[in-house]
């Protein structure tokens, strides 16, 4: 009996040593706000190229938090949208709230090699049962859309911009 009590006390002592909560969706880090440019979502796609690897602020309504990973937020306004990528899970309760996010602009280049890799991964994951028919078809459609867009714009790549999360605050 003494040994059981000892094990329990030890376990509780270990747990109580670590008590800080750093979940992405529930934390408002006190980030330096001065000098951080604000990008309206309506002009995000047009201007993001100038801010790659730089810190920016964006404001919008959280349309949804990614169901699978929980680490992606889709931020929207009437005029535009952007994905926010976190390292930790976002709180689903953010959905429908107007939020200002601070983060680093990142560029993802989509070219033919990228499309081929996506195609290959999609076929593999569908074969393994990780995606259903609708998800498989939707991804194939998206890949074709990228190819059509590159062809229409006569370019070898498309730049997709998103934001790597640093902090957020609710809009009053």
């Amino acid at each position: 009996m003494k040994k059981i009590v000892f094990v329990l006390v030890f376990a509780l002592a270990v747990i109580s040593c670590k008590t800080d909560d750093k979940k992405a969706g529930a934390t408002n880090k006190t980030a330096e706000t001065a000098e951080i440019p604000f990008l309206a979502l309506g002009e995000f796609d047009a201007k993001a190229g100038e801010f790659v690897n730089k810190e920016v602020k964006v404001k919008g309504i959280v349309d949804h938090v990614c169901k699978h990973s929980g680490k992606k937020v889709f931020l929207v306004t009437d005029k535009g949208d952007v994905h926010i990528n976190g390292e930790e899970r976002f709180d689903e309760a953010l959905t429908g709230n107007e939020i200002t996010f601070t983060g680093i602009v990142v560029e993802e280049r989509i070219d033919e090699a990228y499309c081929l890799k996506m195609e290959e991964d999609n076929i593999k994951s569908h074969k393994e049962g990780a995606s259903n028919k609708d998800q498989y078809d939707a991804k194939m459609k998206m890949i074709q859309k990228y190819r059509d867009q590159m062809k229409a714009e006569n370019t070898d790549h498309i730049s997709n911009y998103s934001i790597n999360y640093i902090s957020h605050s609710a809009v009053e």
Binding site: K18, I61, G96
Partner: protein
């Protein structure tokens, strides 16, 4: 060896009892989250279609009109935010994660009501390591699983133990993930 067997049984049994609840949490949420493609493990979704005559075009009085709509189809107290994904559609966010999408031209709308799934919502929440306290607790649990594996090698002696039937099961259990890796990796 006798002492090792005795202590293996004691630790396996007593710590095993302690972690029965945690094992069930990870087992139930593990199955639930394995099938994300097939269902929403956190919420049950109820859809309700409706049509409205209220003008929901994007103008100065739209907020009031949205509240009028909510009085018709839900409750105006549930309003959170709204936006127009495109010129034809309006999306209204409600408290609790529910939402309404309306075609502003035809007035056809669809409300999607989310309701937390009892038990699943809670065990899934824990599965995702909601904070550092749970992270450390689940690390202790994972360590206990390693301990259970080791102690199980010494608990039973003879032909039912690791040098007999138990050993065959042990090898088979290792072969399954290896075969999977060989085939899929």
């Amino acid at each position: 060896m006798k002492n090792l067997r005795k202590w293996s049984r004691i630790l396996h049994r007593d710590i095993g009892f302690f972690f029965i609840g945690t094992t069930l949490i990870y087992a139930i949420s593990g199955i639930a989250l394995n099938h994300l493609s097939d269902w929403n493990p956190n919420y049950s979704v109820e859809n309700k279609n409706f049509t409205t005559q209220i003008n929901l075009e994007n103008n100065a009085s739209v907020k009031n009109n949205i509240l009028l709509l909510l009085e018709e189809v839900d409750d105006k107290e549930n309003y959170k935010q709204h936006y127009y994904p495109n010129a034809q559609n309006l999306k209204i966010f409600l408290k609790g994660g529910s939402s309404i999408m309306v075609d502003v031209e035809s007035g056809a709308g669809r409300a999607e009501y989310l309701k937390k799934r009892p038990l699943f919502y809670d065990v899934n929440y824990l599965h995702y390591n909601p904070n550092k306290i749970w992270m450390w607790f689940s690390d202790i649990f994972a360590s206990a699983l390693i301990l259970f594996s080791i102690t199980s090698l010494f608990m039973i002696k003879g032909k039912k133990g690791v040098i007999g039937r138990g050993g065959i099961y042990l090898v088979l259990g290792i072969i399954v993930p290896i075969l999977f890796l060989v085939y899929y990796l």
